[in-house]
């Protein structure tokens, strides 16, 4: 299994600012993903974080708004840029080990934009 940590656990930000969320895995994972989850709702995939190359974004999500980095096999960051109240949500990172298909999730970052 893999243990995933995220920082910060929560934050309150002002409109127009940016926040970078960090995701750290305790073991090397093949794939890393970033999700958004509104309270009481399901998970929506933002993008797949690719090591050493540009992330792969899902429909409705763009790099300028959600730039992602993945410098190695255990770490990734998601930046929420030029935030608006509509960006208020829980952001989750997950990782998938190479030999299995299971995705392990971090505890999430609860973002509130005022």
């Amino acid at each position: 299994s893999a243990v995933i940590s995220q920082k910060p656990s929560r934050d309150i930000c002002q409109r127009g600012t940016s926040l970078t969320i960090q995701c750290q895995v305790d073991s090397q994972v093949t794939m890393m993903f970033w999700y958004r989850q509104q309270p009481g709702q399901s998970l929506t995939l933002i993008a797949t974080a690719n090591q050493g190359s540009e992330a792969t974004y899902e429909s409705g999500f763009v790099i300028d708004k959600f730039p992602i980095s993945r410098p190695n096999l255990t770490f990734s960051t998601l930046t929420v840029s030029n935030m608006s109240p509509e960006d208020s949500s829980i952001y989750l990172c997950s990782g998938s080990l190479g030999s299995t298909d299971t995705q392990y999730f971090g505890p999430g970052t609860r973002l509130t934009v005022l």
């Binding site: 009481g40 298909d101 299971t102 995705q103 971090g106 505890p107």
Partner: protein, 113 residues
């Protein structure tokens, strides 16, 4: 075709009872079907998963039943406990192609003491 439907939206069960949550999918290319459990303020945690080459998988009190022809799968929680109260998500993926999960909308389970 990428959608995964899940029912019921919410479920209330007495302690000791059986909780049943159902999911259905359209894409026959899906080949991995996990269930996740999520407590408030926590990230989803894998509960149990199944591949379409088996019709049932059991782990402790949790069982997945899989019906390939009907494109449906379900989670059964036997002897439900108040500690099982959480939100449950089914998901599906084309795992062999490394594709991401498609999650169902979730079921909020409450087990009454």
């Amino acid at each position: 075709q990428q959608q995964v439907k899940q029912s019921p939206q919410s479920l209330i069960v007495q302690k000791g009872g059986i909780s049943i949550i159902n999911c259905a999918y359209e894409n026959t290319a899906f080949d991995y079907f996990p269930w996740y459990q999520q407590f408030p303020g926590k990230g989803p945690a894998l509960l149990i998963a199944i591949r379409p080459d088996v019709s049932e998988k059991k782990e402790g009190r949790f069982t997945i039943s899989f019906n390939k022809s009907a494109k449906q799968f379900s989670l059964h929680i036997m002897d439900s406990q108040p500690g099982d109260s959480a939100t449950y998500f089914c998901a599906a993926s084309r795992a062999r192609y490394g594709q991401n999960f498609v999650f169902g909308p979730g079921t909020r389970l409450s087990v009454l003491p």
